[in-house]
């Protein structure tokens, strides 16, 4: 399913970016949660959205992710998602 996720995503120096601008509901939520549910996804994740994703917050909280608004382009809502429950890395790993 994750390969067929809607929207665009790419990796940058600051982590994964997901662009869901212009997608009809519920595809932005599907794209974001689909990326977060990948087993190797530990964040941070930057989301480029064109609306306040109010329906997303309960789902993020349930999965142990936090959400912060960061500056973005005009008409963009940019969110930074980070995981709360990352296990500490064992030395040498």
């Amino acid at each position: 399913m994750s390969d067929a996720l809607p929207g665009k995503h790419w990796h940058a120096d600051d982590g994964l970016h997901i662009d869901v601008r212009g997608l009809p509901p519920p595809e932005p939520m599907v794209a974001i949660l689909g990326q977060l549910e990948k087993s190797d996804q530990n964040g941070p994740v930057t989301v480029h959205h064109n609306r306040d994703p109010v329906y997303l917050y309960p789902e993020l909280a349930e999965r142990g992710w936090t959400c912060t608004l960061v500056p973005g382009e005009a008409n963009e809502v940019r969110l930074l998602l980070t995981r709360l429950d990352l296990p500490e890395q064992a030395p040498g790993k």
Binding site: E27, V54, Y57, A61, C67
Partner: protein, 425 residues
């Protein structure tokens, strides 16, 4: 969850205060046991019921208006502004629609039991006024739903049907006192058809195109099939209404076949949402939702058999019960137990930036009791109707009442958790 105030301002501006949608949801949960109670009292009339005042008519309206329409109003007020990105200009009309609807429905239902003309006419008048306000508010939002044209079209069709059925309902209420209609029963059946399939049915299958993919985390469903579903469903509703008015049996059979085709497309769309969705463990809510889809098919086949004069004992009452309690009430209970904690968490996030967990807001035990009682009530009441055993219907309605009280307990837990979250800030 840390969400700065500026962002919250944007989110909150599109969200009505939690008290607005939740007053509709909680009231719907209160009318749910009342509907079972009215059915319990009117159990001996149910199997042979063909219309007319009394406890069965009151039970039907406590369910259709008190539970189903009440929930549809709350959900529409909550969901449409978020989907269309346009907030309501004012909050008071939504509140006013509630304060017209609630006393109107209480008066109407009591008038149906007592056949008191004052209660019937004033009740019907207040309910119609409230529904006109609801249609106006929803229409104002629907016209901006350009990103979801198929869902908006279902909403438009449902609102048009609601206006027509509300006017017919007011005429029927007036006729109960003065008896000026030549064929009260035919108009009552058209009123019921427009209410069940035209208003609530179209809203259910239309909102499902967004809600079910959202719950299952699937991609958007085929727009073409969505349009086809809507076209067939509206054609079937208009055809059956014409067939009832003109007393054309063959046209009625054709309408049911078209309706079954619409249901088949809907079930296909829902199957695709389940098959392609990322979330596979969907919980108890989807046990109810999936069962409701099966009961839709069973109900339509029962209706077709009745029209085709295939002997089914007390077929008309059985058809009405399976469609209303089996399809619509089961579907709504499934959706409501999913969205109430979700919306509570969403509102809490808008207040503090740290929403309570969905799992903390969802009390599983009351929901399990409700589901067990609901299915037992469906089986017992259907059996009681088919065999014309009022004692079995009474037992079924009593079990349904217990289940609905348990559901009320679940709703109370959501409200208390939300309140405690606000108090802790």
């Amino acid at each position: 969850m840390s969400i700065p105030g500026s962002f919250l301002g944007g989110a909150k501006s599109r969200l009505l205060p939690a008290s607005v949608p939740f007053r509709f949801f909680v009231t719907a949960c209160l009318f749910h046991p009342l509907a079972w109670l009215a059915l319990l009292v009117g159990a001996d009339e149910l199997a042979l019921y063909m219309g007319g005042p009394g406890y069965v008519l009151a039970a039907i309206h406590l369910l259709t208006l008190g539970v189903l329409t009440m929930t549809a109003m709350g959900a529409s007020y909550q969901l449409l502004p978020v989907v269309t990105l346009r907030p309501f200009d004012r909050i008071w009309p939504a509140k006013a629609s509630f304060w017209l609807f609630l006393p109107g429905l209480i008066l109407l239902a009591s008038g149906m039991i007592t056949t008191d003309a004052f209660a019937l006419n004033w009740g019907a008048g207040l309910v119609v006024l409230s529904l006109v306000l609801f249609v106006a508010l929803s229409a104002n939002n629907l016209r901006r739903a350009g990103n979801l044209p198929v869902v908006a079209a279902h909403g438009w069709a449902a609102m048009a049907m609601l206006l027509i059925l509300a006017v017919i309902g007011a005429i029927l209420a007036a006729d109960l006192e003065s008896g000026f209609l030549d064929d009260h029963q035919a108009l009552a059946i058209i009123h019921m058809t427009l209410a069940i399939f035209g208003f609530m049915g179209l809203l259910a299958i239309g909102f499902s195109l967004v809600l079910v993919p959202m719950f299952t985390l699937s991609r958007s469903l085929s727009a073409f099939q969505g349009w086809l579903q809507l076209s067939l469903a509206t054609t079937a509703i208009l055809t059956i209404s014409t067939a009832i008015w003109l007393e054309l049996q063959i046209l009625g059979v054709a309408a049911f076949i078209i309706g079954l085709a619409a249901a088949a497309i809907h079930l296909w769309l829902m199957r695709n949402a389940l098959r392609t969705g990322m979330r596979k463990r969907l919980g108890l809510s989807f046990v109810l939702i999936k069962s409701s889809w099966g009961l839709l098919a069973v109900g339509l086949l029962t209706g077709l058999a009745v029209l085709a004069k295939i002997p089914i004992p007390n077929g008309p009452a059985l058809f009405g019960f399976i469609i209303l309690a089996g399809w619509l009430l089961t579907f709504l209970a499934g959706i409501l137990q999913r969205i109430m904690p979700f919306l509570a968490s969403m509102h809490a996030a808008g207040t503090s930036g740290m929403p309570p967990m969905l799992s903390d807001l969802t009390a599983q035990t009351p929901l399990k009791i409700h589901a067990a009682c609901h299915f037992a009530a469906l089986i017992l009441c259907s059996t009681g109707i088919a065999l014309d055993w009022s004692i079995v219907i009474e037992i079924g309605a009593a079990i349904g009442f217990v289940g609905s009280m348990s559901f009320l307990g679940f709703a109370a837990r959501v409200i208390l958790a939300l309140k405690s979250h606000y108090n802790s800030l």
